[in-house]
Symmetry: C2
Subunit: 363 residues, 2 copies
Amino acid sequence: MTVDLTLLPDGGTSWLDASGPENNIVLSTRIRLARNLQGRPFTVRASQAELLSVLDDVCAAARETPVLRDGVLYRIDELESFDRVLLHERHLISKELGGLGNPNADPRIGAALLTNGALGVMINEEDHLRLQTLESGFALESAFPAIERLDTDLGARLAVAFHPEFGYLTACPTNAGTGLRASVLIHLPGLVLTKEIGKVLQGLSQIGLTFRGLYGEGSEVIGNFFQLSNQTTLGKSEEALVDHLSQMVSQVLEYEQQAREILLREAPTVIEDKVWRAYGRLRYARILSFEETMNLSSGVRLGVGLNLISEVSVYTLNKLLIFTQPAHLAHRHGRPLSDSERRTERARYVRDLLEADANRMAR
Amino acid sequence: MTVDLTLLPDGGTSWLDASGPENNIVLSTRIRLARNLQGRPFTVRASQAELLSVLDDVCAAARETPVLRDGVLYRIDELESFDRVLLHERHLISKELGGLGNPNADPRIGAALLTNGALGVMINEEDHLRLQTLESGFALESAFPAIERLDTDLGARLAVAFHPEFGYLTACPTNAGTGLRASVLIHLPGLVLTKEIGKVLQGLSQIGLTFRGLYGEGSEVIGNFFQLSNQTTLGKSEEALVDHLSQMVSQVLEYEQQAREILLREAPTVIEDKVWRAYGRLRYARILSFEETMNLSSGVRLGVGLNLISEVSVYTLNKLLIFTQPAHLAHRHGRPLSDSERRTERARYVRDLLEADANRMAR
């Protein structure tokens, strides 16, 4: 089985289209709910037969759930490692579900059932079900009802493990209660350049929020992208958790705006020079590592946000995040790439995209 | 008195036009002859009246010399410091004649008599007369007869200090004999990148050649530009000195070509990346120091020489050498510039020039 992303109405990338609120600074909003089936062992302790039975039950329920009925099912354990990496790079499955933590181990029997707007279910990830949605921009207000409806619809057709005192039971106790993690992928170059970022992140951790890099837990911060999310899942309602995150992200957004105003006021030419040089390197380099690509496009993104650069769209910059990754470059090229080929192909892709944008904007 | 460079038929910049032989690698060829008037004290020991008398005599002779008759006379001691810097930046007068070594001292009474193709005479520099010519590319073959004719024509009208044994007498004994210094401004990024340059320069010094930076004696090497010239002036004929330099420069040119071939063969993508990144920075930077401008345009010049970059002409790169200097930027701007203004104006000038070239090439 090979993964065919064209089966998804939008290739699973509609969240990249920069259509959401505050899309200059907030790339995307993700909410996931962890759920487990009643009376079944958690996935780490389940036999092959038990995993298959969970998968069958969830698929049966999904077929009766309007929003999932036309979804595409990817059987992760039947995919080649390359295709699992591809899905992960596209933020459609987790590292855990893809079995990508340990390259020698096969992924457990599981699947991703995906639909438009990256709304879907991961089956037999750490929990039996991980309901997820991914939207463009700062979109907690629309993402939350979407995931809630999916939870209700699916919950009506599946017996889910729920404890009157602890709430939803999960494989890892840190997820118990609501099983909800909401996160916002936010670009904070202003706070990084003004060196305020440490203070802001420290403040967030004191009020129950946490931050991660581009790819969730354990991933490094590159390109000044931070995933801000709720730390606790227990003792508050879903609404309260999402409201709290929403308020705090609004606050961070405001800090970032202030930092940018300070930069523009105190060192306008230095900032202009910085963002345009980043553009020049990205536009003309013939060798690019992923990390350099992210760091340079962070500079360009800041330039676009400050209305200093109009030659490139936020949508294009968003695409760079996904399509300059190793599996995506190999996919586009039609064959595996060596390290050095990958760096030149990445530079070629970036160049073509930026040139097309510049030509379009010039018209 | 203000300097008006438009009086010169070509603004004194025809040597920049990249029309000469090997202009991809050799920027320009300069020959100068040092001469002194018989029975007069050298300029460092001369009184004001004696300097003025030398100036008058040379001007009278020049008026009768066909090639100088339509030349433009700049009285250096009557110019503001700014204008003297401007002439020096354009390579039309020496630091010595401009009195630019010590900003508190006025220049001695002297002048530059200039004509097309930077052929002319500096009067009361270190020597009473410095006949000079500056041509595009590797042009010893045409520059030498030009300066010889000027020497003959002027020598027929002025009694010049000449000793049957020592030859032409000069203020500094290192110039005695022929009084000739021929130099070639050559761009050697290939030898620098392959780290062969040290060996080559050492070899040259062992056979009577010397090297300097862009602005002659004591100036630093920037942008991989080297001025190669004869070290000795005594004990050989003018022809022999020029022939020797010519052969050695041809040899260096060949080494440089070989180094470039090695680079292209062994690391084509690395070189391509390097030259295009230099182009990107030069094209988009908003702040540029002169040194960075020279170093980046050295990369771009290499790219043009290797046929990797066609968006920019050698002529444009040559212009950057002259017109991005402080006095030229202030001249263009119509007023003195602060350090930071100068860096932003330089970046603006470079950007406009490269953009115009790219648009022209795209048509």
